[in-house]
Structure formats: structure tokens, C-alpha cells
């Protein structure tokens, strides 16, 4: 099944991978069975020393080429700074390395790490770091607790491979995390990861501000909202739009992509999904267990996942938290833009654009038109107004002014002239294609409305007589003539 998805170019790499996987299995049978408890076998000989390359999101340091464990020196600086959480909205973030999420750290299983945490002298508060990759008290939190202007150092051996969250664990912990103090550290398995063309770093976080979403200016942290777990912002990489517009992630059709996905929380669990893609592989919860053909993967607060897929065709693929209001109303949305050749066999695109008009059965008038015959002209207008609000106002708005360039105006509209057929047809038959209203071109779709002849007449009379101050009267029989 997997082979089916890969082009011939990748079959070679894939079989190499299979082979190496097989070899790893053979070896692990003897000493490193994943099922067995304890990882002391990773206390291996340390050869050489190097300084870790740290990267800012969405970038990831290059894969580790070493075939042995080494001493890795990591320098991470804590910086408190004010920057935008959305356009025009700023927030005081507490960061690891000046970004939210913090710098991406990449080491190898068995590496011996010397970790330097530096708390910038201009900072207001003490900070520390709890790395979930660390086996030991507080994940290093106690050992790295540093006042502003001070540095703390500790050492650890990376016993378990996987993608781990790190975060600040200084009281009040919730507030430190809510202000952006989290990031990811990848402990590459000894056998390495499958070679891919593109790797990206995406981390979700929820934010709590005194002003609601989009309220401009410097917004202070709102503790009460944080305790109630009601965020104003749920974002990828620390800002609404951190992965859209000019910050869009880019790949070419045919490339393989790996997303290192983390969730800093502090509160929400993410249902991570890429609209228009299926993850070929997911390292569940960032561990060693690989699942396949996944639509949405759960990323716990303080947890991670690695997703791998091939972008077979061009298009914009949307990264979302599929708890979907977070995506469209709170910012948890990013774009992976893929260029290249289309493959109509995989995806045709829209082949026959058109409107779906419900069948005659479904669109059939529900009530007999006689029902409204007995109404006085005033009652008819009142009915028209009521029907307008139910059927028309959603697009053309209550006042009939419409929405510029999208929904044409019905009020003071030159579309409502003496030719009542032109006014009746869209209501009973639907309308699509370009029209000109008050000199402005519109090209949208209007579905036909499920109104009786008399109801259609009533609503059109309301539009004619009230919105356009016209004496034109539409009768049910006029509607009947136009209805197809």
C-alpha cells in the first residue's frame, strides 16, 4: 500500500530503509528490544564534542549524520520580549531563544548533553527548563533555575529516542507556559529517520488576553481566562498568520515532507490535521510507534507527533487544529503551499463548475399559493418583510445593501426596474454568472428559493415597494409564468 504511493524514485530509498530496519531488528533482538524496560544500554562511549545548532521555527536543524554518540553543548537563552500575537495586537512573550515556540534542538539517542540555560539580564523573572527528554528530577527544572542575569548548567544522557516538548517550570508554571515558554527537542533514534525532502517545525499554543480576539494594542495575560481554559488565541508558532501569507510553508509536488508537531498548551489538546492530505506515517505521540494512513492525529498538551507524507499534487494544504473553531476563529491555521505538475488521476480539481439546483421535488413549493390570497396589501408587505429576513437577509443583509463585490444590493438597486421577470427568475429558478448592478459587476451564485408563488410575490413586492420606493407590483401569476 505504501509502495503504491511512492514513485519509483523512492522505491530504492524505501527498500534501503526496509533493509536497515531489518538490520536494526536483528540487533535489537540481542540487546535493544523496544519492549524491554530500561534504556541503560544507551550509556555508550562518547566520541568527540560539538555545539548544537539551534533553529527558529518553522526551521529544523539538519539530520544527524553521526553514527556514534557525542558530547553536545546546548546554549539556550531566555528572553522576555514584546511582539505581535496578531496584526496590531502585541503581547509580552517569555521565550526560549527569542521565538515562540523556542529554538528547535536536535540530538541523537545516547548523546551526552551539557545544557546551558541563560536568563537574560533584562528579564524580569527567574526561569528554568523542564525537558521531557531528560530522565531525572524535574527534567532539569531544578538544576536550571536561574535568576535574571544568571546562567545554570546541567548534564544528561538522552536515553530515550523521540520528539519531546521542553518548557519552563517556574512558579507559576501555567503562566510561564501560557506566555510562550515551550519548544521541541528531537532525540533522533540511532538508526536515524527516513530521508525526506522538507522538514518543518510547527507548534501549537493557546493564549489568554484581557481583550478578546483581535482587540488591538498591548494585551496583558488574563489569568482568569487561563484558569477557565477559554483562550482568545489558539495559534501555530506564536502568532496568527505565522504560517500564512509570506510565511507559508513551501514544497514542490513529488517531495516528501516531515512535520515535527508539538503542542505547548498550556490547556488545549490539538487535533492536528492537514486539509487535503493524509499522513502516510505518524510517529504517534512523538514516540517510536509508527502508524500509517492517518487523517487527524492527537497532539496532547505537553506532547508531540511526527507526521510524514508525500505531497503528490500542487495546491494549498491547510494545517489546522480540527477542533475547527480554533482554526477559523482563533488562529490555529497554517498553509503548506505546493507548486508543480498536476496529476488529474489523483485529483481532478473542479471539472464542471456549476450550481447545484435542487431537484423539482426538493424545491417544490411547500404550501398552496392560495393561502396568501386573502391578505391585504399591508399584510402582504409585512409577510414580504418577514420572508425577506428569513430567506434573503443572510446574503443581501437586513438593510438590503448587500456586500460590495460579493452580494449585490437590493435596496436602491437598478436591477429592480420595470422588467419583473428579471427580478422573479433568480428567486424561483436561481441565478449564476456575471450581472451588473448599479454599475458594479457581480459574479456569484444565487440558489433558487423554496417559496410559493404568492410568497415570492410578497417578498419581491417588499423589495420593490419598500427598498426601492417603486409602485411595481408582482402578482403570484407573474411568478408562476417565470417559474421553470
Amino acid at each position: 500500500m505504501e509502495q503504491h504511493k511512492l514513485t519509483s524514485r523512492f522505491i530504492f530509498i524505501f527498500s534501503l530503509f526496509l533493509l536497515s530496519g531489518l538490520m536494526a531488528c536483528q540487533r535489537s533482538d540481542k540487546t535493544e528490544n523496544k519492549e524491554s524496560l530500561g534504556r541503560e544500554h544507551n550509556l555508550v562511549e562518547i566520541i568527540g564534542e560539538e555545539k548544537a545548532i539551534l533553529t527558529s521555527p518553522p526551521f529544523v536543524p539538519p539530520p544527524i549524520a553521526r553514527k556514534h554518540a557525542t558530547k553536545v553543548i546546548i546554549d539556550l537563552e531566555v528572553i522576555e520580549l514584546e511582539q505581535e500575537i496578531a496584526d496590531g495586537v502585541s503581547y509580552v512573550f517569555w521565550t526560549f531563544g527569542g521565538t515562540v515556540p523556542g529554538s528547535f534542538i536536535r540530538i541523537r539517542e545516547g548523546d551526552y548533553v551539557e545544557f546551558h540555560l541563560k536568563n537574560h539580564p533584562d528579564n524580569k523573572l527567574p526561569h528554568n527548563i523542564d525537558l521531557h527528554a531528560v530522565t531525572g528530577q524535574g527534567g532539569g527544572a531544578e538544576a536550571t533555575f536561574a535568576a535574571p542575569g544568571y546562567e545554570a548548567v546541567f548534564n544528561f544522557t538522552a536515553l530515550n529516542p523521540g520528539l519531546f516538548v521542553y518548557h519552563c517550570a517556574t512558579a507559576p508554571v501555567g503562566m510561564h507556559i501560557a506566555n510562550g515558554m515551550y519548544g521541541l527537542i528531537l532525540v533522533e533514534p540511532k538508526e536515524g529517520l527516513l530521508k525526506v525532502d522538507k522538514e518543518f517545525y510547527v507548534m501549537q499554543g493557546d493564549f489568554y488576553t484581557e481583550g478578546s480576539y483581535g482587540e488591538s494594542g498591548l494585551q496583558p495575560f488574563d489569568m482568569n481566562k487561563a484558569i477557565k481554559e477559554q483562550p482568545d488565541y489558539v495559534v501555530f508558532n506564536g502568532k496568527v498568520g505565522a504560517l500564512t501569507g509570506e510565511n507559508t510553508l513551501k514544497a514542490k509536488a513529488g517531495e516528501t515532507v516531515r512535520l515535527f508537531v508539538g503542542n505547548g498548551g498550556p490547556n488545549l489538546v490539538s487535533s492536528f490535521h492537514v486539509i487535503g492530505e493524509v499522513f502516510d506515517n505518524v510517529y504517534m505521540e512523538g514516540g517510536s510507534l509508527k502508524n500509517h494512513d492517518i487523517q487527524t492525529t492527537l497532539v496532547p498538551a505537553g506532547g508531540s507527533a511526527i507526521t510524514e507524507f508525500k505531497v503528490e499534487i500542487p495546491g494549498d494544504f491547510i494545517l489546522v487544529d480540527h477542533s475547527i473553531f480554533r482554526a477559523f476563529n482563533k488562529g490555529a491555521l497554517g498553509i503548506l503551499e505546493v507548486d508543480g505538475e498536476e496529476n488529474k488521476l489523483i485529483y481532478s480539481g473542479k471539472s464542471e463548475p456549476g450550481i447545484y439546483q435542487p431537484s423539482a421535488e426538493a424545491g417544490k413549493p411547500k404550501k398552496k399559493s392560495e393561502e396568501t390570497f386573502a391578505l391585504t396589501p399591508e399584510q402582504q408587505l409585512a409577510l414580504g418583510e418577514k420572508l425577506y429576513k428569513i430567506n434573503c437577509a443572510a446574503c443581501h443583509l437586513n438593510d438590503g445593501n448587500g456586500v460590495t463585490n460579493i452580494f449585490p444590493p437590493l435596496k436602491n438597486s437598478d436591477y429592480f426596474n420595470k422588467d419583473i421577470t428579471k427580478a422573479i427568475a433568480p428567486v424561483v429558478n436561481g441565478l449564476s454568472g456575471e450581472i451588473t448592478v448599479n454599475g458594479q459587476k457581480y459574479n456569484s451564485v444565487m440558489p433558487k428559493q423554496a417559496l410559493t408563488d404568492a410568497e415570492t410575490a410578497a417578498v419581491l413586492n417588499y423589495v420593490y415597494q419598500i427598498m426601492n420606493e417603486s409602485k411595481t407590483t408582482v402578482k403570484p401569476e407573474d411568478v408562476k409564468k417565470v417559474r421553470k
Partner: protein, 264 residues
């Protein structure tokens, strides 16, 4: 005509007097406020842990750069040049000029980059001492209009808002942030302050058997026992204090002095 002139002079005198008086209430070197004491409940523990606080005096303002400079003139062994490395690390008075003195714009700003030893020595030389954490917190609890401000609308939020703003390039003058019920300025939002027993929160507390519970306060950063888990500002202060050592000099840690009420 004559009358008018007298009235005019009288008015002038009155104005001069009131402005002078205004100045006195806004700032005076080492001026102290009386704190009647009372019962204090540490924020991280239950009701059984209340502490009795005797009446005391506390400085109405944090010690300024100018005051500290005056102190150094009389006690040169504590100057930037002479201080023993045991008593302060290399950052001591880092915001001052190379040898001594400082830019005039920070004259009335609180002195920072001072170690606990230097702060305690300063207070001793003034016939005072550093306030205990309990005393300091008792004063800090006061709102604008009453001794326990935590029930005052927006008080906690105000403090938290100030605490989470970034450090300014230079600290503003003392006496500009918040004047509390006791007539004490700047307990919140200007700087952090040394207390006499700043490092006791992590200790196993000789008189207490529940040292375990207190330790979890900082290991996990939260305490299940906390009487007010919403008092994040108090958590911030306790975290800050526990990150310090007595020879540390930090860009936003200064101090004020206190003394027992029976020694006026």
C-alpha cells in the same frame, strides 16, 4: 489696594506651603510608615499556618541610587571598587559608571544590582534591617483603601499586569506606581525587593514538619495547599526570591528597610 496686596501675598505663601507639604508626602529620604502588624497567612499554606506579625516600621520608598551613593561615601569598603567578592558578584552596581556615580537621570530611581549583604549592611547602618518576607508580604497585601487589597476590585489583576510588563531600559523614579493603604509606595510594579529571609521558602523550616508540602511549591511550581491559587503575583515573587543567592546582583532587585516598632 493695600488689602489686595496682603491677600495676594497670603495666597502666595499658602501656595508655597502646600506645594512644600506635597513634596514631603511624595518623597523623603528614609521616611517610614507604621504597620500595626497582625496575622499573616502565607499564600502557599493552609489556615493552620498563620503567623503573628508584631508592629513594625517599613520604608515608604525603595532605597534610591542617591541614598545608596551617600551610604557608600561613609562606607567606602562597600563601594563598587572595594567590595569583597564574597559579598557581591561581578554585577554589583553594574548600572553605575565605571568607578562610582551614575547618570543623573537615575538619581531618584531605586538602586538595583545590589547583593543581599550590601542591602542588609545599608539597613544596619541606618539603624534598621531588611523586612522579613512575612512583613514584606503583609505590607504588599494592602490595597489602595484597605489592609487586605486582594478583595479590592482589579487589585490582583493590576499587580499581575505590572509584573508581566518587560523591564524598562532604566527604572523610573520611586513614588510613581502604587500608593497603598499604609502610605507605602512601589510594593508592586517597580522592582523586586530583597527580604531578610529571602531564601527560607525552600528550606525545610525548622519549626515545621510539613517541609515536603512546601517543597512541592517550587518543584512543581504549584501548591495544592495554596490558600489562593489565583494569587499569581505572590507565586512570581516567591519564585524570584528562591532563584537568588545572597551575593547575587540582579537588574531588577533592590530593597527597602524595616525596623521593629518598639525601637522608634
Amino acid at each position: 489696594m493695600h488689602f489686595n496686596r496682603i491677600i495676594f501675598i497670603g495666597l502666595g505663601l499658602g501656595l508655597a506651603f502646600s506645594s512644600l507639604k506635597g513634596q514631603q508626602t511624595s518623597y523623603s529620604d528614609g521616611e517610614m510608615a507604621f504597620i500595626p502588624g497582625g496575622n499573616y497567612f502565607p499564600f502557599f499554606s493552609g489556615k493552620e499556618d498563620q503567623e503573628k506579625v508584631d508592629p513594625f516600621y517599613i520604608d515608604r520608598f525603595p532605597v534610591t541610587n542617591r541614598e545608596f551613593e551617600t551610604f557608600l561615601a561613609d562606607h567606602p569598603q562597600w563601594s563598587k571598587k572595594n567590595i569583597k567578592s564574597l559579598f557581591a558578584d561581578a554585577g554589583y552596581l553594574k548600572h553605575w559608571k565605571q568607578d562610582s556615580g551614575f547618570e543623573s537621570d537615575i538619581t531618584m530611581s531605586p538602586v538595583v544590582f545590589v547583593s543581599w549583604f550590601a542591602a542588609q549592611k545599608y539597613c544596619e547602618c541606618m539603624g534598621k534591617r531588611l523586612p522579613t518576607t512575612t512583613e514584606w508580604e503583609l505590607v504588599a497585601e494592602a490595597g489602595k483603601t484597605r489592609p487586605d487589597g486582594r478583595n479590592e476590585e482589579g487589585f490582583t489583576r493590576l499587580i499581575l499586569g505590572m509584573a508581566s510588563k518587560p523591564n524598562p531600559a532604566t527604572h523610573p523614579e520611586v513614588g510613581k506606581t502604587l500608593l497603598n493603604y499604609y502610605g507605602v509606595w512601589d510594593m508592586h510594579g517597580l522592582i523586586w525587593e530583597w527580604t531578610y529571609d529571602f531564601n527560607s521558602a525552600l528550606g525545610t523550616g525548622g519549626s515545621r514538619s510539613d517541609s515536603n508540602a512546601e517543597n512541592t511549591l517550587f518543584c512543581g511550581g504549584g501548591s495544592g495547599k495554596a490558600k489562593d491559587v489565583d494569587d499569581y503575583a505572590a507565586f512570581l515573587r516567591h519564585a524570584l526570591r528562591s532563584s537568588l543567592k545572597a551575593n547575587y546582583t540582579v537588574s531588577n532587585v533592590g530593597f527597602r528597610c524595616a525596623k521593629d516598632a518598639d525601637k522608634p
